[in-house]
Amino acid sequence: MLQHSDITALFITLRLAATTTLILLVVGTPIAWWLANTRSRLRSPIEAIIALPLVLPPTVLGFYLLLAFSPDSPLGGAVASLGLPSLAFSFTGLVLGSVIYSMPFVVQPLQNSFVSLGKRPLEVAATLGASTFDRFISVVLPLSKMGYLTAAVLGFAHTLGEFGVVLMIGGNIPGETQVLSIAIYDHVEALEYSQAHWLAGGLLISSFLVLLMTYGMNRRIHLMKTS
Protein backbone atom coordinates (compact mmCIF):
# COMPACT_ATOMS: atom_id res chain seq x y z
CA MET A 1 0.00 0.00 0.00
CA LEU A 2 0.94 3.67 -0.10
CA GLN A 3 3.38 4.90 2.47
CA HIS A 4 2.99 8.22 4.25
CA SER A 5 5.83 9.68 2.19
CA ASP A 6 4.11 8.58 -1.01
CA ILE A 7 0.94 10.41 -0.06
CA THR A 8 2.97 13.52 0.70
CA ALA A 9 4.65 13.19 -2.70
CA LEU A 10 1.24 12.84 -4.32
CA PHE A 11 0.00 16.07 -2.73
CA ILE A 12 3.16 17.96 -3.63
CA THR A 13 2.80 16.76 -7.21
CA LEU A 14 -0.85 17.82 -7.43
CA ARG A 15 -0.08 21.18 -5.83
CA LEU A 16 2.81 21.73 -8.20
CA ALA A 17 0.77 20.80 -11.27
CA ALA A 18 -2.22 22.92 -10.21
CA THR A 19 -0.11 25.97 -9.37
CA THR A 20 1.87 25.66 -12.58
CA THR A 21 -1.25 25.27 -14.72
CA LEU A 22 -2.91 28.27 -13.12
CA ILE A 23 0.14 30.48 -13.61
CA LEU A 24 0.55 29.26 -17.17
CA LEU A 25 -3.06 30.00 -18.09
CA VAL A 26 -2.61 33.56 -16.85
CA VAL A 27 0.84 34.11 -18.34
CA GLY A 28 0.22 32.05 -21.46
CA THR A 29 -2.91 33.95 -22.52
CA PRO A 30 -1.22 37.25 -23.44
CA ILE A 31 1.73 35.41 -24.99
CA ALA A 32 -0.55 33.20 -27.10
CA TRP A 33 -2.68 36.20 -28.05
CA TRP A 34 0.34 38.17 -29.13
CA LEU A 35 1.69 35.24 -31.15
CA ALA A 36 -1.69 34.70 -32.80
CA ASN A 37 -2.09 38.32 -33.86
CA THR A 38 1.28 39.98 -34.25
CA ARG A 39 2.93 40.82 -37.54
CA SER A 40 6.21 41.44 -35.74
CA ARG A 41 9.44 39.82 -36.89
CA LEU A 42 10.02 38.69 -33.32
CA ARG A 43 7.20 36.20 -33.64
CA SER A 44 9.22 33.29 -34.99
CA PRO A 45 12.12 33.59 -32.52
CA ILE A 46 9.68 33.82 -29.60
CA GLU A 47 7.70 30.85 -30.88
CA ALA A 48 10.94 28.87 -31.16
CA ILE A 49 12.01 29.76 -27.63
CA ILE A 50 8.64 28.74 -26.20
CA ALA A 51 8.76 25.43 -28.10
CA LEU A 52 12.30 24.61 -26.87
CA PRO A 53 11.15 22.45 -23.92
CA LEU A 54 9.47 20.16 -26.46
CA VAL A 55 12.82 19.11 -27.90
CA LEU A 56 15.42 19.76 -25.20
CA PRO A 57 16.29 17.02 -22.74
CA PRO A 58 14.80 18.15 -19.42
CA THR A 59 18.25 17.86 -17.86
CA VAL A 60 19.54 20.64 -20.12
CA LEU A 61 16.76 22.93 -18.99
CA GLY A 62 17.29 21.87 -15.36
CA PHE A 63 21.02 22.48 -15.61
CA TYR A 64 20.60 26.07 -16.80
CA LEU A 65 17.86 26.74 -14.28
CA LEU A 66 20.13 25.46 -11.53
CA LEU A 67 22.83 27.87 -12.68
CA ALA A 68 20.29 30.71 -12.77
CA PHE A 69 19.16 29.91 -9.24
CA SER A 70 22.70 30.07 -7.81
CA PRO A 71 23.43 33.22 -5.77
CA ASP A 72 26.16 34.21 -8.28
CA SER A 73 23.66 34.61 -11.14
CA PRO A 74 21.55 37.77 -11.68
CA LEU A 75 18.30 35.94 -10.85
CA GLY A 76 19.65 34.09 -7.80
CA GLY A 77 21.46 37.23 -6.66
CA ALA A 78 18.29 39.31 -6.90
CA VAL A 79 16.36 36.72 -4.91
CA ALA A 80 19.09 36.65 -2.25
CA SER A 81 19.34 40.43 -2.02
CA LEU A 82 15.60 40.59 -1.38
CA GLY A 83 16.21 38.35 1.61
CA LEU A 84 14.16 35.48 0.11
CA PRO A 85 15.17 31.85 0.47
CA SER A 86 17.08 30.37 -2.45
CA LEU A 87 15.02 29.03 -5.36
CA ALA A 88 17.14 25.92 -5.72
CA PHE A 89 15.74 22.91 -3.87
CA SER A 90 12.53 24.77 -3.01
CA PHE A 91 8.90 24.36 -4.06
CA THR A 92 8.92 27.87 -5.56
CA GLY A 93 11.89 26.89 -7.67
CA LEU A 94 9.99 23.82 -8.86
CA VAL A 95 7.02 25.96 -9.87
CA LEU A 96 9.27 28.31 -11.81
CA GLY A 97 10.97 25.39 -13.56
CA SER A 98 7.64 23.72 -14.37
CA VAL A 99 6.19 26.93 -15.78
CA ILE A 100 9.03 27.12 -18.28
CA TYR A 101 9.03 23.39 -18.92
CA SER A 102 5.27 23.14 -19.58
CA MET A 103 4.88 26.50 -21.34
CA PRO A 104 4.49 25.12 -24.91
CA PHE A 105 1.78 22.72 -23.78
CA VAL A 106 -0.37 25.66 -22.70
CA VAL A 107 0.65 28.38 -25.16
CA GLN A 108 0.29 26.31 -28.32
CA PRO A 109 -3.32 25.14 -27.83
CA LEU A 110 -4.30 28.67 -26.82
CA GLN A 111 -2.54 30.15 -29.83
CA ASN A 112 -4.24 27.66 -32.19
CA SER A 113 -7.56 28.43 -30.64
CA PHE A 114 -7.08 32.20 -31.02
CA VAL A 115 -5.97 31.80 -34.64
CA SER A 116 -8.96 29.64 -35.55
CA LEU A 117 -11.26 32.25 -34.06
CA GLY A 118 -10.40 34.60 -36.92
CA LYS A 119 -10.71 38.37 -36.91
CA ARG A 120 -14.37 38.61 -37.80
CA PRO A 121 -16.01 38.17 -34.36
CA LEU A 122 -13.63 40.75 -32.91
CA GLU A 123 -14.30 43.23 -35.68
CA VAL A 124 -18.02 42.84 -35.15
CA ALA A 125 -17.64 43.30 -31.41
CA ALA A 126 -15.54 46.42 -31.95
CA THR A 127 -18.13 48.02 -34.22
CA LEU A 128 -20.71 47.26 -31.54
CA GLY A 129 -18.74 49.37 -29.10
CA ALA A 130 -16.76 46.75 -27.17
CA SER A 131 -13.31 47.85 -26.00
CA THR A 132 -10.26 45.62 -26.44
CA PHE A 133 -10.54 44.10 -22.98
CA ASP A 134 -14.31 43.77 -23.28
CA ARG A 135 -13.90 41.96 -26.61
CA PHE A 136 -11.52 39.52 -25.01
CA ILE A 137 -13.82 38.74 -22.10
CA SER A 138 -17.11 38.66 -24.00
CA VAL A 139 -16.03 37.07 -27.28
CA VAL A 140 -12.57 35.48 -27.19
CA LEU A 141 -12.82 33.65 -23.87
CA PRO A 142 -16.20 32.00 -24.45
CA LEU A 143 -15.26 31.03 -28.00
CA SER A 144 -11.92 29.59 -26.84
CA LYS A 145 -13.35 27.31 -24.14
CA MET A 146 -12.01 24.18 -25.81
CA GLY A 147 -8.59 25.72 -26.26
CA TYR A 148 -8.44 26.57 -22.56
CA LEU A 149 -9.59 23.12 -21.54
CA THR A 150 -6.98 21.45 -23.75
CA ALA A 151 -4.28 23.84 -22.54
CA ALA A 152 -5.14 23.23 -18.89
CA VAL A 153 -5.22 19.45 -19.23
CA LEU A 154 -2.00 19.26 -21.21
CA GLY A 155 -0.21 21.71 -18.91
CA PHE A 156 -1.38 19.83 -15.83
CA ALA A 157 -0.58 16.38 -17.21
CA HIS A 158 2.81 17.40 -18.49
CA THR A 159 3.78 18.89 -15.13
CA LEU A 160 2.56 15.73 -13.45
CA GLY A 161 5.01 13.69 -15.48
CA GLU A 162 7.97 15.97 -14.94
CA PHE A 163 11.16 14.21 -13.84
CA GLY A 164 14.42 15.55 -15.21
CA VAL A 165 13.94 19.21 -14.41
CA VAL A 166 12.70 18.45 -10.90
CA LEU A 167 15.64 16.19 -10.24
CA MET A 168 18.11 18.87 -11.33
CA ILE A 169 16.64 21.87 -9.50
CA GLY A 170 14.52 20.37 -6.76
CA GLY A 171 16.63 17.54 -5.55
CA ASN A 172 14.67 14.92 -3.75
CA ILE A 173 13.64 16.39 -0.41
CA PRO A 174 10.68 14.39 0.98
CA GLY A 175 7.84 16.65 2.03
CA GLU A 176 9.36 19.57 0.16
CA THR A 177 10.38 18.80 -3.38
CA GLN A 178 9.88 15.07 -3.76
CA VAL A 179 7.25 14.52 -6.45
CA LEU A 180 5.58 11.30 -7.56
CA SER A 181 7.83 10.55 -10.51
CA ILE A 182 10.88 10.78 -8.27
CA ALA A 183 9.24 8.76 -5.52
CA ILE A 184 8.64 6.01 -8.09
CA TYR A 185 12.27 6.19 -9.13
CA ASP A 186 13.35 5.88 -5.48
CA HIS A 187 11.13 2.82 -4.93
CA VAL A 188 12.53 1.13 -8.00
CA GLU A 189 16.08 1.91 -6.91
CA ALA A 190 15.29 0.35 -3.54
CA LEU A 191 13.67 -2.64 -5.31
CA GLU A 192 10.33 -1.80 -3.64
CA TYR A 193 8.39 -2.88 -6.69
CA SER A 194 5.00 -3.13 -5.02
CA GLN A 195 5.10 0.54 -3.92
CA ALA A 196 6.32 1.51 -7.36
CA HIS A 197 3.38 -0.41 -8.85
CA TRP A 198 0.84 1.46 -6.75
CA LEU A 199 2.19 4.85 -7.73
CA ALA A 200 2.93 4.09 -11.37
CA GLY A 201 -0.38 2.29 -11.92
CA GLY A 202 -2.32 5.06 -10.20
CA LEU A 203 -0.65 7.69 -12.33
CA LEU A 204 -1.28 5.69 -15.51
CA ILE A 205 -4.98 5.19 -14.82
CA SER A 206 -5.69 8.73 -13.64
CA SER A 207 -3.83 10.24 -16.62
CA PHE A 208 -5.83 8.04 -18.96
CA LEU A 209 -9.10 9.08 -17.31
CA VAL A 210 -8.26 12.78 -17.52
CA LEU A 211 -7.41 12.54 -21.21
CA LEU A 212 -10.49 10.44 -21.91
CA MET A 213 -12.66 13.07 -20.28
CA THR A 214 -11.01 15.85 -22.26
CA TYR A 215 -11.39 14.15 -25.61
CA GLY A 216 -14.95 13.16 -24.74
CA MET A 217 -15.81 16.74 -23.93
CA ASN A 218 -14.06 17.92 -27.06
CA ARG A 219 -16.20 15.59 -29.10
CA ARG A 220 -19.42 16.65 -27.40
CA ILE A 221 -18.73 20.32 -28.02
CA HIS A 222 -17.83 19.52 -31.60
CA LEU A 223 -21.07 17.60 -32.07
CA MET A 224 -23.05 20.44 -30.53
CA LYS A 225 -21.48 22.84 -32.99
CA THR A 226 -22.26 20.76 -36.04
CA SER A 227 -25.76 19.68 -35.06
Binding site: R120, E123, T127, G129, P142
Partner: protein
Protein backbone atom coordinates in the same frame (compact mmCIF):
# COMPACT_ATOMS: atom_id res chain seq x y z
CA UNK B 1 -22.22 65.31 -45.14
CA UNK B 2 -19.88 62.39 -45.19
CA UNK B 3 -16.49 63.28 -46.61
CA UNK B 4 -14.32 60.36 -47.52
CA UNK B 5 -10.70 60.62 -48.60
CA UNK B 6 -9.12 57.27 -47.91
CA UNK B 7 -6.06 55.62 -49.36
CA UNK B 8 -4.76 52.13 -48.95
CA UNK B 9 -1.69 50.63 -50.53
CA UNK B 10 -1.36 46.89 -51.00
CA UNK B 11 1.23 45.10 -53.07
CA UNK B 12 -1.15 44.44 -55.98
CA UNK B 13 -3.93 46.86 -55.27
CA UNK B 14 -4.41 50.49 -54.46
CA UNK B 15 -7.51 52.08 -53.03
CA UNK B 16 -7.68 55.78 -53.79
CA UNK B 17 -11.02 57.34 -52.95
CA UNK B 18 -12.25 60.87 -52.52
CA UNK B 19 -15.94 61.64 -52.49
CA UNK B 20 -18.75 63.19 -50.46
CA UNK B 21 -22.27 61.96 -49.96
CA UNK B 22 -25.26 63.42 -48.11
CA UNK B 23 -25.82 62.35 -44.53
CA UNK B 24 -29.13 60.71 -45.16
CA UNK B 25 -30.32 57.95 -47.43
CA UNK B 26 -28.76 54.91 -48.98
CA UNK B 27 -25.48 55.30 -50.83
CA UNK B 28 -24.72 52.27 -52.97
CA UNK B 29 -21.07 51.50 -53.59
CA UNK B 30 -21.18 49.67 -56.88
CA UNK B 31 -18.51 47.93 -58.90
CA UNK B 32 -17.25 44.58 -60.16
CA UNK B 33 -15.70 42.15 -57.69
CA UNK B 34 -12.17 42.99 -56.76
CA UNK B 35 -12.64 46.72 -57.28
CA UNK B 36 -12.15 47.49 -53.60
CA UNK B 37 -15.75 47.93 -52.45
CA UNK B 38 -15.36 45.84 -49.33
CA UNK B 39 -11.97 47.33 -48.54
CA UNK B 40 -13.46 50.82 -48.76
CA UNK B 41 -16.26 49.83 -46.41
CA UNK B 42 -13.79 48.31 -43.96
CA UNK B 43 -11.65 51.43 -44.10
CA UNK B 44 -14.70 53.56 -43.28
CA UNK B 45 -15.55 51.26 -40.38
CA UNK B 46 -11.99 51.60 -39.11
CA UNK B 47 -11.03 47.96 -39.29
CA UNK B 48 -8.43 48.36 -42.05
CA UNK B 49 -5.37 49.37 -40.05
CA UNK B 50 -3.40 50.36 -43.16
CA UNK B 51 -5.94 52.85 -44.52
CA UNK B 52 -4.72 56.43 -44.35
CA UNK B 53 -6.37 59.75 -45.16
CA UNK B 54 -9.33 61.48 -43.65
CA UNK B 55 -12.92 60.70 -42.94
CA UNK B 56 -15.55 63.05 -41.58
CA UNK B 57 -19.05 61.92 -40.71
CA UNK B 58 -21.58 64.64 -39.96
CA UNK B 59 -18.95 67.02 -38.63
CA UNK B 60 -17.18 64.40 -36.55
CA UNK B 61 -13.61 63.52 -37.51
CA UNK B 62 -13.29 59.76 -37.60
CA UNK B 63 -9.91 59.87 -39.20
CA UNK B 64 -7.43 62.61 -40.02
CA UNK B 65 -3.91 62.22 -41.37
CA UNK B 66 -2.68 62.41 -37.79
CA UNK B 67 -5.27 60.64 -35.75
CA UNK B 68 -7.90 57.98 -35.98
CA UNK B 69 -10.89 57.30 -33.83
CA UNK B 70 -10.85 53.67 -32.65
CA UNK B 71 -13.55 51.46 -34.14
CA UNK B 72 -15.43 51.07 -30.88
CA UNK B 73 -15.76 54.85 -30.55
CA UNK B 74 -17.02 55.40 -34.11
CA UNK B 75 -20.43 53.90 -33.66
CA UNK B 76 -20.74 52.18 -37.03
CA UNK B 77 -23.17 49.42 -37.68
CA UNK B 78 -21.61 46.78 -39.89
CA UNK B 79 -23.47 43.97 -41.63
CA UNK B 80 -21.05 41.61 -43.32
CA UNK B 81 -21.54 39.52 -46.43
CA UNK B 82 -21.09 36.36 -44.40
CA UNK B 83 -23.48 36.42 -41.48
CA UNK B 84 -21.38 36.92 -38.39
CA UNK B 85 -23.45 36.49 -35.29
CA UNK B 86 -21.62 35.43 -32.14
CA UNK B 87 -22.06 31.65 -32.08
CA UNK B 88 -21.93 31.43 -28.28
CA UNK B 89 -24.84 33.81 -27.76
CA UNK B 90 -28.54 33.37 -28.45
CA UNK B 91 -30.27 35.57 -31.00
CA UNK B 92 -31.56 37.84 -28.24
CA UNK B 93 -28.13 38.15 -26.62
CA UNK B 94 -26.67 38.92 -30.03
CA UNK B 95 -29.27 41.63 -30.58
CA UNK B 96 -28.49 43.27 -27.28
CA UNK B 97 -24.69 43.00 -27.43
CA UNK B 98 -24.13 46.51 -28.78
CA UNK B 99 -27.08 48.12 -27.04
CA UNK B 100 -25.80 46.98 -23.62
CA UNK B 101 -22.53 48.74 -24.28
CA UNK B 102 -24.07 52.13 -25.00
CA UNK B 103 -23.20 54.73 -22.42
CA UNK B 104 -26.54 56.37 -22.77
CA UNK B 105 -29.17 54.59 -24.83
CA UNK B 106 -31.54 56.95 -26.57
CA UNK B 107 -33.44 54.02 -28.09
CA UNK B 108 -34.42 55.42 -31.46
CA UNK B 109 -35.51 51.89 -32.32
CA UNK B 110 -38.00 50.20 -30.12
CA UNK B 111 -36.74 46.69 -29.49
CA UNK B 112 -40.10 44.96 -29.82
CA UNK B 113 -41.06 46.90 -32.91
CA UNK B 114 -37.74 46.23 -34.58
CA UNK B 115 -38.03 42.52 -33.82
CA UNK B 116 -41.46 42.52 -35.46
CA UNK B 117 -40.32 44.48 -38.51
CA UNK B 118 -37.39 42.12 -39.01
CA UNK B 119 -39.65 39.13 -38.45
CA UNK B 120 -37.36 37.47 -35.94
CA UNK B 121 -39.70 37.20 -32.96
CA UNK B 122 -39.71 33.40 -33.14
CA UNK B 123 -35.94 33.15 -33.09
CA UNK B 124 -34.99 35.02 -29.94
CA UNK B 125 -34.01 32.02 -27.84
CA UNK B 126 -32.29 30.11 -30.58
CA UNK B 127 -28.60 29.89 -31.32
CA UNK B 128 -27.21 31.24 -34.60
CA UNK B 129 -26.16 27.80 -35.86
CA UNK B 130 -29.81 26.79 -36.22
CA UNK B 131 -30.79 29.84 -38.32
CA UNK B 132 -31.04 30.18 -42.09
CA UNK B 133 -28.93 32.67 -44.02
CA UNK B 134 -31.76 35.16 -44.37
CA UNK B 135 -32.61 34.93 -40.67
CA UNK B 136 -28.96 35.46 -39.73
CA UNK B 137 -28.74 38.62 -41.83
CA UNK B 138 -31.95 40.02 -40.35
CA UNK B 139 -30.64 39.45 -36.83
CA UNK B 140 -27.28 40.98 -37.81
CA UNK B 141 -29.08 44.06 -39.14
CA UNK B 142 -31.12 44.32 -35.94
CA UNK B 143 -28.02 43.95 -33.80
CA UNK B 144 -26.23 46.70 -35.71
CA UNK B 145 -29.19 49.10 -35.44
CA UNK B 146 -29.79 48.50 -31.75
CA UNK B 147 -26.27 49.77 -31.07
CA UNK B 148 -27.59 53.12 -32.38
CA UNK B 149 -24.99 53.60 -35.10
CA UNK B 150 -24.26 56.98 -36.67
CA UNK B 151 -23.53 55.22 -39.95
CA UNK B 152 -24.74 51.87 -41.19
CA UNK B 153 -22.46 49.86 -43.46
CA UNK B 154 -23.76 46.86 -45.36
CA UNK B 155 -21.40 44.68 -47.36
CA UNK B 156 -23.37 42.72 -49.99
CA UNK B 157 -25.77 41.49 -47.33
CA UNK B 158 -27.88 39.56 -49.84
CA UNK B 159 -25.23 37.88 -51.92
CA UNK B 160 -24.99 34.69 -49.87
CA UNK B 161 -28.75 34.11 -49.84
CA UNK B 162 -30.93 31.97 -52.07
CA UNK B 163 -33.33 33.70 -54.45
CA UNK B 164 -36.41 33.44 -52.20
CA UNK B 165 -34.82 34.82 -49.04
CA UNK B 166 -33.05 37.49 -51.07
CA UNK B 167 -36.40 38.71 -52.39
CA UNK B 168 -37.92 38.74 -48.90
CA UNK B 169 -35.01 40.64 -47.44
CA UNK B 170 -34.72 43.19 -50.23
CA UNK B 171 -38.42 44.02 -49.86
CA UNK B 172 -37.85 44.52 -46.17
CA UNK B 173 -34.83 46.73 -46.84
CA UNK B 174 -36.70 48.80 -49.43
CA UNK B 175 -39.29 49.86 -46.90
CA UNK B 176 -37.05 49.93 -43.90
CA UNK B 177 -33.81 51.65 -44.92
CA UNK B 178 -35.68 54.72 -46.18
CA UNK B 179 -37.15 55.25 -42.74
CA UNK B 180 -33.82 55.25 -40.95
CA UNK B 181 -32.48 58.58 -39.90
CA UNK B 182 -28.85 57.67 -40.50
CA UNK B 183 -26.72 57.44 -43.63
CA UNK B 184 -26.25 53.99 -45.08
CA UNK B 185 -23.45 52.67 -47.27
CA UNK B 186 -24.54 49.65 -49.20
CA UNK B 187 -21.92 47.68 -51.12
CA UNK B 188 -23.24 45.64 -54.01
CA UNK B 189 -22.49 44.40 -57.49
CA UNK B 190 -26.15 43.89 -58.34
CA UNK B 191 -27.80 46.53 -60.54
CA UNK B 192 -31.16 45.41 -59.22
CA UNK B 193 -30.18 46.28 -55.66
CA UNK B 194 -28.89 49.67 -56.85
CA UNK B 195 -32.16 50.36 -58.63
CA UNK B 196 -34.27 49.34 -55.69
CA UNK B 197 -32.36 50.76 -52.78
CA UNK B 198 -29.91 53.48 -53.71
CA UNK B 199 -30.50 57.21 -53.36
CA UNK B 200 -26.87 57.94 -54.12
CA UNK B 201 -24.39 55.99 -56.10
CA UNK B 202 -20.62 55.68 -55.86
CA UNK B 203 -19.02 53.82 -58.74
CA UNK B 204 -15.77 52.11 -57.94
CA UNK B 205 -13.35 50.69 -60.45
CA UNK B 206 -9.96 49.19 -59.63
CA UNK B 207 -9.80 51.12 -56.38
CA UNK B 208 -10.77 54.49 -57.87
CA UNK B 209 -14.05 56.33 -57.51
CA UNK B 210 -15.18 56.97 -61.09
CA UNK B 211 -18.50 58.65 -60.34
CA UNK B 212 -20.45 59.81 -57.34
CA UNK B 213 -23.82 61.54 -56.95
CA UNK B 214 -27.57 61.00 -56.89
CA UNK B 215 -28.38 57.61 -58.44
CA UNK B 216 -30.33 59.00 -61.39
CA UNK B 217 -27.58 61.48 -62.27
CA UNK B 218 -24.76 58.97 -62.05
CA UNK B 219 -26.70 56.44 -64.08
CA UNK B 220 -27.47 59.04 -66.74
CA UNK B 221 -23.87 59.97 -67.37
CA UNK B 222 -22.60 58.45 -70.60
CA UNK B 223 -18.96 57.99 -69.75
CA UNK B 224 -19.12 55.92 -66.59
CA UNK B 225 -17.89 52.38 -66.64
CA UNK B 226 -21.38 51.19 -65.75
CA UNK B 227 -23.18 52.96 -68.58
CA UNK B 228 -20.60 51.75 -71.09
CA UNK B 229 -21.17 48.18 -69.98
CA UNK B 230 -23.85 45.85 -71.33
CA UNK B 231 -25.84 46.23 -68.12
CA UNK B 232 -26.36 50.01 -68.42
CA UNK B 233 -29.72 51.02 -67.05
CA UNK B 234 -31.81 53.98 -65.87
CA UNK B 235 -33.98 54.31 -62.82
CA UNK B 236 -37.23 56.29 -62.80
CA UNK B 237 -39.29 57.15 -59.79
CA UNK B 238 -43.01 57.50 -59.89
CA UNK B 239 -46.22 56.58 -58.23
CA UNK B 240 -49.02 54.24 -59.14
CA UNK B 241 -51.69 56.29 -60.85
CA UNK B 242 -54.12 53.73 -62.22
CA UNK B 243 -54.88 50.03 -61.99
CA UNK B 244 -57.77 50.06 -64.41
CA UNK B 245 -56.13 48.40 -67.40
CA UNK B 246 -56.21 44.63 -67.07
CA UNK B 247 -52.79 43.18 -66.22
CA UNK B 248 -51.15 46.59 -66.32
CA UNK B 249 -50.10 49.15 -63.79
CA UNK B 250 -49.90 52.79 -64.80
CA UNK B 251 -47.08 54.65 -63.17
CA UNK B 252 -46.88 58.39 -63.34
CA UNK B 253 -43.21 59.29 -63.48
CA UNK B 254 -43.49 62.93 -64.39
CA UNK B 255 -46.32 65.35 -65.12
CA UNK B 256 -48.61 63.62 -67.57
CA UNK B 257 -46.08 60.89 -68.39
CA UNK B 258 -47.48 57.48 -67.57
CA UNK B 259 -45.56 54.29 -68.03
CA UNK B 260 -47.44 51.04 -68.34
CA UNK B 261 -45.92 48.03 -66.69
CA UNK B 262 -47.34 44.52 -67.01
CA UNK B 263 -47.86 42.77 -63.73
CA UNK B 264 -49.79 39.84 -62.37
CA UNK B 265 -53.19 40.41 -60.74
CA UNK B 266 -52.13 38.90 -57.43
CA UNK B 267 -49.12 41.19 -57.17
CA UNK B 268 -51.26 44.23 -57.87
CA UNK B 269 -53.72 43.45 -55.15
CA UNK B 270 -51.04 42.65 -52.64
CA UNK B 271 -48.28 45.19 -53.00
CA UNK B 272 -49.38 48.09 -55.10
CA UNK B 273 -52.06 50.39 -53.73
CA UNK B 274 -52.83 53.53 -55.73
CA UNK B 275 -50.43 56.35 -55.01
CA UNK B 276 -47.64 54.11 -53.80
CA UNK B 277 -44.15 55.35 -54.73
CA UNK B 278 -42.29 52.87 -56.88
CA UNK B 279 -39.10 52.69 -58.89
CA UNK B 280 -38.74 51.46 -62.42
CA UNK B 281 -35.57 50.05 -63.90
CA UNK B 282 -35.15 50.40 -67.62
CA UNK B 283 -32.23 48.73 -69.37
CA UNK B 284 -30.55 50.89 -72.00
CA UNK B 285 -30.76 47.91 -74.38
CA UNK B 286 -34.56 47.93 -74.09
CA UNK B 287 -34.95 51.52 -75.26
CA UNK B 288 -35.04 52.09 -79.01
CA UNK B 289 -35.55 55.30 -80.94
CA UNK B 290 -38.00 56.19 -83.74
CA UNK B 291 -38.19 59.46 -85.63
CA UNK B 292 -41.96 59.26 -85.90
CA UNK B 293 -44.44 57.85 -83.46
CA UNK B 294 -45.07 54.26 -84.49
CA UNK B 295 -48.72 53.42 -84.91
CA UNK B 296 -50.23 50.10 -83.94
CA UNK B 297 -47.18 48.82 -82.11
CA UNK B 298 -47.14 46.13 -79.48
CA UNK B 299 -44.73 48.20 -77.44
CA UNK B 300 -46.58 49.65 -74.48
CA UNK B 301 -44.54 52.71 -73.82
CA UNK B 302 -43.78 55.10 -76.63
CA UNK B 303 -42.90 58.54 -75.36
CA UNK B 304 -41.79 61.79 -76.98
CA UNK B 305 -38.20 62.55 -76.06
CA UNK B 306 -35.36 64.91 -76.81
CA UNK B 307 -31.85 63.62 -77.42
CA UNK B 308 -29.75 65.22 -74.74
CA UNK B 309 -26.41 63.66 -75.55
CA UNK B 310 -24.88 61.00 -77.74
CA UNK B 311 -21.71 59.22 -76.65
CA UNK B 312 -18.76 60.15 -78.81
CA UNK B 313 -17.11 56.78 -78.83
CA UNK B 314 -18.75 53.54 -79.69
CA UNK B 315 -18.43 50.39 -77.63
CA UNK B 316 -18.53 47.23 -79.72
CA UNK B 317 -20.65 48.86 -82.40
CA UNK B 318 -23.11 50.53 -80.02
CA UNK B 319 -23.71 54.11 -79.08
CA UNK B 320 -25.21 55.30 -75.86
CA UNK B 321 -27.82 58.05 -76.02
CA UNK B 322 -29.19 60.04 -73.14
CA UNK B 323 -32.83 60.94 -73.74
CA UNK B 324 -34.71 63.63 -71.94
CA UNK B 325 -38.29 62.51 -71.41
CA UNK B 326 -40.18 65.34 -69.73
CA UNK B 327 -37.19 66.11 -67.56
CA UNK B 328 -36.28 62.49 -66.79
CA UNK B 329 -33.10 60.94 -68.05
CA UNK B 330 -33.33 57.60 -69.80
CA UNK B 331 -30.41 55.85 -71.45
CA UNK B 332 -30.78 54.13 -74.78
CA UNK B 333 -28.20 51.85 -76.33
CA UNK B 334 -28.56 51.41 -80.07
CA UNK B 335 -26.24 50.41 -82.86
CA UNK B 336 -23.77 52.80 -84.37
CA UNK B 337 -25.35 51.97 -87.71
CA UNK B 338 -28.79 53.14 -86.61
CA UNK B 339 -27.40 56.40 -85.28
CA UNK B 340 -26.03 57.15 -88.70
CA UNK B 341 -29.01 55.84 -90.67
CA UNK B 342 -31.44 57.99 -88.67
CA UNK B 343 -29.04 60.93 -88.58
CA UNK B 344 -29.49 61.31 -84.84
CA UNK B 345 -28.04 64.37 -83.19
CA UNK B 346 -28.35 66.31 -79.96
CA UNK B 347 -31.54 68.34 -79.34
CA UNK B 348 -33.42 66.27 -81.92
CA UNK B 349 -37.02 65.44 -81.05
CA UNK B 350 -37.66 61.71 -81.31
CA UNK B 351 -39.83 58.97 -79.85
CA UNK B 352 -38.47 56.53 -77.32
CA UNK B 353 -39.84 53.00 -77.46
CA UNK B 354 -39.42 51.34 -74.11
CA UNK B 355 -39.69 47.63 -74.73
CA UNK B 356 -39.77 46.72 -71.10
CA UNK B 357 -39.58 48.46 -67.79
CA UNK B 358 -39.50 46.48 -64.62
CA UNK B 359 -40.90 47.48 -61.30
CA UNK B 360 -38.18 47.15 -58.74
Amino acid sequence: MIDVELLLQRSEFQLNTKFSVPSRGVTAVFGPSGCGKTTLLRAIAGIEPDAVGSLEVNGQHWQTPHERLPVEARRVGLVFQHPSLFPHLTVEENLLYGRKRLEKATNPYDLKELILILGIEELLNRHPDSLSGGELQRVALGRALLAEPKLLLMDEPLSMLDQASRETLIQLLENFLQQLDIPIFYVTHSSEEVARLADNLVLLSRGDVTACGPTATVLASLDSELSRSESAFSVLQGEISSKELPGLLCIECSDGIDLKVPTSESMVAKHYPLGRAVRLRIRARDVSICLERPQQSSILNILPAVIAEISTSSDSGSRLIRLDIAGMHVLSKISEYSVQQLGLHAKQVVFAQIKSASLV
